[in-house]
């Protein structure tokens, strides 16, 4: 069942929240040993919340009885916020749930656990040296993508209908692509990041993953709104999108990104992009100005800010890092300050250039990842005919857009092959509504959908 179906069933009394949660916990018990998506399962808490919801006479919210889970960099009261690390295990448990959890539970959703992720969100792979890799629900020998790997595995594998992840450079959109689910990276500053372990403050976003566009939208709506606890969160009222999903795309000017966004893409990535473009009647191809520079600038800001965040831990506990993360962070300490300032200046330049582009177009389509999910343990892949390091390059198509905080919906486009791949729908700031309407159109047409998992693969 989808989240909206569960909520409707619970609200109407056809199903209890307890039944929904027990069903979910049973799936987690059966499938998590295969997918390694969860690092904590909150059985007692979830059942208690479900019981309270069933006993309450109050009107049920739009997420009544819907089980969800969060990436383990999001605070859950009573759990230590791991952020995928060994080092953080020494921290005390969080005193309170993060605001996004509070907001979802206020609408009836029920938290069932915390999810695996790449250490300190610096991976793109879903691999983790301490907890083991999360595994792709369509081929368990393959990566989920990351860093919200457990979120992709849990939703793609049908363990939960909803999950929260974070996206600094593509960490929602990459696992959405590899695991075949819908993901929303909202506008920078739209959703509060309070109560989450940071990575790169300049670029960090939180957002949902789901199996349908309606589920994605209702989850997003439940989480919107200002929060003074996050200085980046916009003082902007909620702008609900769920009610307008079926307004269609008439009159919208949609283009497909060319140049940089096609140069290194695999045949699968291009086939998915072209299938989406054709279904939407897109005939225009646009050049995103200086996309390669935007990706490079995002990369430099990430490396420098990430290194600064972890510098003291690199000094005092270097052996407790995942080596793949540690060595990358150390390299980040060596970036000249002038390059970081230049990257932040370029960010302003690129924002102005993209504003001009969005005066002509309402949405841009682009591949989410250059390829389908690589094999777990793989260190390189072929990009534009060259063998390149995997971790630094899986996000080449996602990084330019998160660099300036544009909202993006990643939609899964299952092809004839066994492995899914995603397409990004990018819109102007605060126009999540348009991206979701386009995603919904593709879903109705049967082009975008979350394929059934293949747990035995």
């Amino acid at each position: 069942m989808t989240a909206t179906e569960i909520a409707a069933a619970v609200a109407s009394g056809r199903m209890t929240a307890r039944a929904a949660i027990e069903d979910c916990l049973s799936r987690i018990e059966r499938l998590n040993p295969v997918l390694n998506a969860f690092t904590a399962v909150l059985t007692e808490r979830a059942l208690a919340k479900a019981g309270a919801l069933d006993a309450s006479g109050a009107t049920k919210g739009p997420l009544a009885g819907v089980p969800f889970a969060v990436k383990n960099l999001i605070d859950v009261a009573g759990l230590t916020t791991l952020a995928g690390s060994k080092i953080n295990r020494d921290n005390p448990p969080a005193m309170a749930d993060a605001p996004l959890i509070v907001r979802l539970e206020a609408q009836g959703a029920i938290l069932v656990g915390a999810l695996n992720m790449g250490e300190y969100a610096y991976d793109f792979t879903g691999e983790n040296a301490h907890d083991g890799p999360s595994r792709n629900p369509h081929d368990t020998a393959r990566m989920t993508g990351g860093s919200s790997g457990g979120s992709g595995a849990a939703v793609g594998g049908g363990l939960v209908t909803l999950a929260l992840g974070s996206d600094t450079n593509g960490s929602i959109r990459v696992p959405a692509s590899f695991c075949g689910v819908f993901g929303l990276k909202p506008t920078y500053g739209r959703l509060t990041r309070a109560g989450s372990f940071p990575f790169v403050s300049s670029l960090d976003h939180l957002g949902p993953l789901a199996r349908t566009v309606a589920d994605l939208a209702v989850t997003y709506d439940a989480m919107q709104g200002p929060d003074p606890a996050d200085p980046v969160c916009a003082a902007r009222p909620a702008d609900p999108v769920s009610g307008g999903l079926d307004e269609g795309i008439g009159g919208l000017r949609i283009a497909s990104a060319g140049g940089y966004f096609r140069a290194g893409a695999s045949p699968q990535a291009l086939a998915a992009l072209d299938a989406a473009a054709a279904a939407l009647g897109v005939t225009q191809t646009v050049t995103v100005p200086q996309a390669q520079q935007a990706r490079g600038a995002a990369y430099i800001i990430t490396a420098a800010e990430g290194a600064a965040l972890h510098l003291n831990r690199l000094r005092t506990r270097p052996d407790d890092f995942d080596p793949d993360v540690r060595d990358r962070l150390i390299a980040g300490t060596l970036i000249p300050a002038a390059a970081v300032v230049q990257a932040q200046k370029f960010r302003r330049w690129f924002q102005n250039a993209m504003r001009a582009l969005f005066a002509e177009y309402d949405a841009i389509l682009a591949p989410a990842t250059p390829c389908v999910a690589p094999t777990i343990g793989q260190k390189t892949f072929v990009l534009d005919g060259k063998d390149v390091p995997l971790r630094p390059n899986i996000g080449i198509y996602t990084q330019p857009f998160s660099f300036i905080g544009l909202p993006v919906v990643a939609v899964p486009v299952p092809l004839a092959a066994r492995l899914p791949i995603g397409v990004q729908i990018v819109t102007a700031p605060w126009r999540e509504d348009l991206a979701l309407r386009i995603a919904r159109t593709l879903e109705v047409q049967g082009i975008a959908r979350a394929p059934s998992p293949n747990h035995k693969a």
Binding site: A234, G296, L314, I330, A331, T333, L334, R347
Partner: protein
């Protein structure tokens, strides 16, 4: 920047930062440093106007 120059930068930079680097970490650090430096070099070729404000506190 060749390998020797990168190693010199690694040695000096990690010493400055107070990070003790073990010999078997060096190839991976060097690989990531070379990626960073290549992107930095390209970025620094951008001739941006003096009056563009950097955007560390960014509003979309």
């Amino acid at each position: 920047m060749d390998e020797a120059a990168m190693d010199a930068l690694i040695d000096a930079g990690t010493a400055l930062a107070g990070i003790e680097i073990k010999p078997h970490w060096r190839p991976a650090v060097r690989m990531h440093l070379s990626v960073n430096l290549a992107l930095t070099a390209t970025l620094m070729t951008m001739d941006l106007p003096d009056d563009i404000d950097p955007a560390p506190v960014f509003q979309a």
